[in-house]
Structures are given as structure tokens and as C-alpha cells.
Symmetry: C2
Subunit: 384 residues, 2 copies
Amino acid sequence: MKHLTSFFISLLIATCSFAQQALWSGSQIISPEINQDNSVTFRLHAPKAVKVLVTGDFTEAGYAELVEKDGIWTYTTAPLSPELYSYSFVVDGLTVRDPSNVYMIRDVASVTNVFIVGGGRADLYKVNDVPHGSVSKVWYHSPTLGMNRRMTVYTPAGYEQNRRQKYPVFYLLHGAGGDEEAWMDLGRTSQILDNLIAQGKAEPMIVVMTNGNAGESAAPGQCPDGFERIPGFQQRGMMEGSFEMHFPDVVKYIESNYRVFKDKKHRAIAGLSMGGFHSMHISKYYPDMFDYVGLFSAAARFHENSDCPVYMNEKAQIDAQFAKKPALYWIAIGNTDFLYQENVKFRNYLDEKGYKYEYVESEGGHIWKNWRIYLTEFVPKLFR
Amino acid sequence: MKHLTSFFISLLIATCSFAQQALWSGSQIISPEINQDNSVTFRLHAPKAVKVLVTGDFTEAGYAELVEKDGIWTYTTAPLSPELYSYSFVVDGLTVRDPSNVYMIRDVASVTNVFIVGGGRADLYKVNDVPHGSVSKVWYHSPTLGMNRRMTVYTPAGYEQNRRQKYPVFYLLHGAGGDEEAWMDLGRTSQILDNLIAQGKAEPMIVVMTNGNAGESAAPGQCPDGFERIPGFQQRGMMEGSFEMHFPDVVKYIESNYRVFKDKKHRAIAGLSMGGFHSMHISKYYPDMFDYVGLFSAAARFHENSDCPVYMNEKAQIDAQFAKKPALYWIAIGNTDFLYQENVKFRNYLDEKGYKYEYVESEGGHIWKNWRIYLTEFVPKLFR
């Protein structure tokens, strides 16, 4: 063992001389610390700072002020409800990450630190000691769009071993500003699926997360513009029909490359915001494709007057879709969501026609907290 | 189109009211900016700051001071050589990330921003317009360790389509403090492989990146301790033989689940630092397994006096390995690496015995810059 110990001592000495790379300069301060009572303590070593805030939705104001002692700034929240929380520090007006916390999630062009207060539904967002599915970043060719595109594919635990088993497929779409990584990172999809399947609350299924911006091939950092791309809302190729039109290319790729059932009964589609709009239009334009449809805080609108066939005779398309009686048409939205009225209008149309759908109204607005909740509620209803 | 425009306006208004989540608060400042002459300009908006530095190995001192005007701090480097660079800002003593750059890489417990100055070899580190392989995070069962463990598997472009083609496999191991994500994130493995294969400089191959810490199942954030785990050097289960002993479990999993050749001629193993130590010991303990062996800045030492069979009669194991004439035994190290003398000693043993190996000595020390270079040089030599 002396060799091992000497190796680590040498390694630490060696790496100190590369301090300019800041490679292994992990801080010794613990932050955030989740206390026994689910209060959370934030700590930051910043002896020269004048004012330090922590931003986050765990206080009513959206931020709280830290107090300094011996150069360490501290703030402890009230006990928090189980949830995945994001936060940043603001030091004298500058938004910074918590140097003691390596865990961060990007949403469009913002990166924030994250932590999970466990318990209740939030335990579904955690990595638990259960069998884990595999997560793959895969490139597929789309003849319709004339490009190679990237997507994320979750295959459930056991997929590799159970060589004769076929699986149903759930297509899960992101919102404006998102990409094929959003549902995995912000949505905790693989954790939610692993946990629900392990608990017997969901069927083992494949989950396919596409990139819904038809004008681009992949997430920021994964295209030829690499690290020079500034993530943003890509209006090119969004909500103008291209993505919806090309969707059979995705289905064909999955059904050619994975052990899956290839019928409507074993296909589901859902999405949030723009992805809800996509799910609504794809499922009506291809009414024989999906038996399960989920609109999460969807831009549930008719386009009208568009030249794209996806948006022509939209109500007739909806009528044709419901004439085939989908196994589940599920609509969820928060009561303060900016798309709330639009959903009322869309539901009014369905009600008028007597079309059957399920409706869930939650607290809050157009936020990931709600989309994670909707995912945990929608998935157990599929393929049963 | 008016519907689309109104959607985005509503979305932007809606998200402003969630400013406490700092979700979409992307800055308008461009930083870093790579200029025509390959100089790089850093910018930070911090009107209250007194002193701002940028750390990084692009200046001799390891840092440079930014100059303030109208609240914006700026620094422009001299023209930089092609390379992947990492950096952080230091604002009044506090290390912070660049809020204008979402691209970051974690190394053990440190997270730094990154950018690439293209040209030459560094173009291999970029995402280029070439066919891309798939990257999967996969869980395998190890009967030897009695646990489920996570690894990263790169399958080259065309793997899904060329159903009759079999592939060789390259096992690529990380160093102390690393995990199954290190070679992908810090090592740019998928970009390097995509580019070398597209240029015809490397055979299409599968690359398997394991977790070399036998005491843990997966990278930080991917275990049941989730976001509460502080990444560090996991001395439990490192360099005491468990990982080396269990390696056939990995090979068996890959050969049972992927379309690969299953003979020595089509297997390579290499690793950096501790991973070089692992590659040396695995390849000698299982001398019929790998025809290609790479030691990158390796802890190329004999353990001696260990009870673990991997470390018993070590020289006899090396002798047996070289008696079988491996197709390639490749050793690379930087001339200021803290393991340099150890490599001299190991090479002396090989020289004494007249064993054939290739040796590359580079500038610099125990750093990722070198390991990326070694990868680009080693991979073209495999399976040809």
C-alpha cells in the first residue's frame, strides 16, 4: 500500500503546480447542505464581498441575503418541500455559481446550480438503488429535412438482456429554447422512468427525446459551431410545420433500430409548451400513429391560414383523430400559466364536440417543476 | 406567422416573471470571443468589482488582469496556439464562471469554462460536419465485484446501419479522480474518433470507457448519493487489484451486447495515469486479451509484495505478455511529468529484456492537453 499512498501524494503535489488550470481546486466548504429538517444551508467564502444573495424559488421574494462571519457567507432556508431546486449566488451584483457545488443544469443560455430535497414525489427525481436504463445520444438521418440530427434515447433496464422482449415507445418533446438534452437534464426523465418502472408503476418503455428545432441538427455544443454558439431561442424551423412533417423519419429510425412494437397502441407522444404544440399537431396530422397524447402546458393553438399541410383544415384533422378514439388524450397546465386561456379555448372545442380527454390543473406557471410532475403522472397511464 | 410571433413574445414575458429561477437570463456580452488572429477576448460585466483576473494556461503567469471601462472588464490574449483551453474568472478573490459562456467541464471537484482555438490538431477536438457516432451511458453487471456499474460506450457512425459489420473494441481508462465521463468530457473522445474515422485515419471502432474506481458504481451525480456527493479522489477500490480482476466482466458484457470481434487482435486497452497503471496490469494479468496496449502518463509501476494475484510475480507476467509479442505496446509521457522517472525505470526493464515498444515523449506534464494528444496519436495505430 505504500506505493499507492506515495502515488496519491505525488499526484496532489503534481497537480498543485497546475493551479492555473484550476483543475482540482475543489473547495472544502459544504454548500448546499440539506439539514435534517429539510432546511438548506448555503455557504460561500467571499471575504471581500459587500453583499451576497442567493436566488431561488425557495423564498417568497425569489432571493435571500446571506450573512457574513469570518469571510464565510451563510443563509439557511425554512424547511423546504421535496423538490428539485435551482439557485445561484449574486455577489455584489454579479451572478455566480456556487463553487462548492459541481452540479449544474443549463436552461437555454442560463446555467444554475441544483439540489434535491428528497421525500414524496421528489424521490422520483433522485438516483435510487434500482436498475438503471441506458441513455444514448444517437444521430439519425432525416430524408424529409435532408439532415442528420441528434436525439436522446432511453432504453429501460433489462433491454440488453431480454432479447426477445419488445417495448412500447414514448416520444417526449421539449419546449422553445430547449433541445434533445432538456428532458434528461431539467426533466430528470431517466431517473423518473427508472424509479417508476422499478416500483411497478410504469411499463418498461423506450423514451425518445428529439430536437424540436427543425433548423438545427443538435444541442448547443454538439454542432459545428461548437463552443462558439450562444444558446438561444431558435426561431428558424420552429412551429412552421417542418418538425411535425419530418416526424415519421424519427419513428422509422427507432422502429428499424430498436426492439419495439410498431403499432399505434404502443406509441405515445407528449411535449411541453412548444413540444405540446408539436404533439398536438403531429398526433392529428398522423392520426394512426399515436394512441397516447400528452399536452403539458402546451401552446395548444390552431395555426389557421398556414400553407403547411400540417396546419390546413386543423379542426377536421382533430375530428378525424378523435373519431379514431385515442386511448388517452391528456392535457395538463398550471393555473397561472400564460398559456392557460389558450388551453381553455382548446378544451372548449373538445368539449363542444364531446371528445374525451383527461385534464389536470396544477398550481403555478410555465416551469420545469410542473413538467416533471406531469411526466410522473402521465407515464404510469401509458400502454396499460 | 403572427401566432408564432405572439407565442414568443408571450413566452418571453412569462419567463421574465420567473426571474427568480434565473432560467433564461442569458447575458448579451460575448465572452470569450476568438478573434481572427486567434487572440481571445474575455469580457465580464461587473461594475462593482475592484479587481478581475482570468486564470488559464494561455499566459505564462497562469492568469491575467482584466481592465474595466463602463462596468465591462476586458482582456485580450496574444494569438493562441490551437488547443482546448479552460479558464475561470477571479473577481475580488472569488473564482467564478464566465456568465456569458455556458460551456464548462468538470474535473474532479472543479468546474471551469472552456473554449477551443481551432486549427491543426485542435480541429480534431471540434464537432465537425462529419458522420457522428453514438454515445451511450450503459449499466453492466459485474459478478466479480457484485455490483451494477456504469460505463460510456462510443459506437462509430454507421454501426446501426451496417448490420453485418463487426467492430474492434478499444477500452479507454481514466485516471485517479476521474470516472466514466472523463474521457468524453475532458478527453473529447467522441469528437476525436468521429474526426479520425471520417478522415480515414482510424478504423471504425467501439470505444468503451469504464469507471476505474472499483469501490463505486458510477460518476458523481449518478449514484444514490446524487447531488450531495462531493467529487474527490476515491481511494476505496483504487489500484488494489479489484478493478483489474473484474475487467473480463466488462469485456464479456461488450462482447455479448455489441457486434464486435472477440479475439485479441481486435482488442486494445489504454489509460492515463492510474488508467495507465490499470492498462499495464490488466494486459499482463490477462496476456491473451489485448494486442494493443497504451500507457499515457502512466503510473507504470510494479506493486510488489501485494497479496492480490494481479500484482504477484509481476515481472514474470510482463515476460509472459511480451513472449506473446503484442502488436503494439505504446508508452507516452511528458518531459516534466511527475511520473517521468517511474516511466524511465519501467522502460529500462523493457529495454533490458529487449521487449519491443513504441515511446513518445512530449512537452509538459500530467495534463489533459497531453492525454488528448496521445489519444489522437494512439488511435490511428490500432487494428491496422
